[in-house]
Amino acid sequence: MRLSIAMILALVAVVLGDEPAMAQATAQAASALPWWAWVLLLLAVTFVLGIVAVIGGVGGGVLFVPIVSGLFPFHLDFVRGTGLLIALAGALAAGPTLLRGGMANLQLAILPALIASAAAIVGANIGLALPDNVVQLALGSIILGVVCLMALARKSAYPEVPKADALSVALRMHGVYHDPFSDRDIEWKVHRTPQGLALFVVIGMLAGMFGIGAGWANVPVLNLVMGVPLKVSVGTSSFILSIVDSAAAWVYLNHGAMLAVIAVPSMLGMMLGSTIGVGLLSRANVAVIRKVVIGLLLLAGVRSLLKGFGI
């Protein structure tokens, strides 16, 4: 626990560093370090991010893109492509367990996933066409928005849904799942479906444009807007992510915005870190780690904004 806090503080110190000096240092380091040193550093950083992401309750992509784009000499195109892959790999790996356990619901996910995946394709194309400084500005703004959402948004374990709306009834967006912790069957239904589906258009666009996955937005929309119980929201969000990020990943792949030497070690580091993070979850002070994650994202968001302004 102390070690992970120390690693996080080290990352904070680097992110907090003077921007022009950091840029110059990165450029000098880029020419001095061999390729394998950067790959090993990437493995180490994504390992730490994997631990922090699990304990802090955030997706890998939302931490990976702003932090790695600030610390490493990789172009933002490759960082975003890798961010999508990391989110996709995590969601695919978790999918079978969530689906079998009833925590992810296919009927609930199928229409939001269609809408968000189509929007993600558009977002990915727009994101790859925009100039770098515009992407940095937009990325910084989105990250600061995520920080606000994490700091302020409530979560509701079992939202009160007085009546299912007509669209959710027609699409059979309802279900029952067995909660092993409380050992009871939970029935759920959904409301405000049109509003929720409209938000999934925005979520898909952002996911494709910045490669940051969409879990940070899916869960509040499903839980707070549509009234899905929290566990089903989290499980279904992960499942929707696997579909949305598949769509966007194809755009990045076909654009050549992926490098194996960046993507594969990142996926490996994140997977290993997540495994450790799950083991530490019961012993870590989740509230403290969550505050550290929010702080880290705040700094990364400000850094992206500064980069966008050319400062």
């Binding site: 950067w38 000499p73 689906l99 199928i110 269609l114 790859l128 966007a248 792949l253 076909n254 960046i262």
Partner: protein
């Protein structure tokens, strides 16, 4: 569990019985919880999960294998590893132009090179959703659930178009 007059072997025997009984109870509890969970999980959802499980396992090992072949030089890369730092700070468009590769599936012609061989594993993982959806379709058609079948087919179409490169616009 411990009785007076028991030797060490008696204690050990009782300990083993106790451990096995606890393990059996844990297994029974897990199976019961799984059965209760699966009771509410539709057949098509289970089919999706099973297909995804197999696909992720294959994709994971394939990607690890191709990366080892690439990074240890068993298959020569298009961009030599030592020259990578000069390329990875370029934009995707600049890098593709400098090595003479276009958009879409042009990368497929380069799979003989170690770096682009990894794209096969990435493409496999990205395409897994299409396979899983097609696995689920017969369940929906059998139930005459045409609304969901239509949505599912639309999703397969969207993902296939994304995969085809037709929705990738050259910048």
């Amino acid at each position: 569990m411990f009785k007076s007059g028991d030797g060490l072997s008696g204690v050990w025997k009782r300990l083993r019985i106790n451990i096995k009984a606890r393990a059996r109870l844990r297994r029974q509890h897990t199976f019961k919880a799984r059965a209760l969970q699966l009771r509410y999980v539709a057949l098509e959802q289970r089919a999706y999960a099973d297909t995804l499980d197999v696909g992720v396992t294959i994709g994971r090992y394939f990607l690890a294998g191709t990366f080892i072949l690439y990074v240890f030089g068993f298959i020569a890369p298009k961009i030599p590893l030592s020259e990578l730092p000069a390329y990875w700070s370029m934009s995707a468009h600049q890098l593709s132009a400098s090595i003479g590769i276009g958009t879409g599936w042009s990368w497929f012609s380069m799979v003989g090179y170690g770096d682009y061989l990894n794209f096969l594993g990435i493409a496999f993982l990205a395409g897994l959703t299409i396979v899983c959806y097609l696995r689920v379709l017969p369940f929906l058609l059998h139930r005459k659930d045409f609304v969901f079948s239509a949505i599912l087919l639309l999703e397969v179409t969207v993902l296939s178009l994304a995969a085809s490169g037709l929705l990738t616009f050259d910048h």
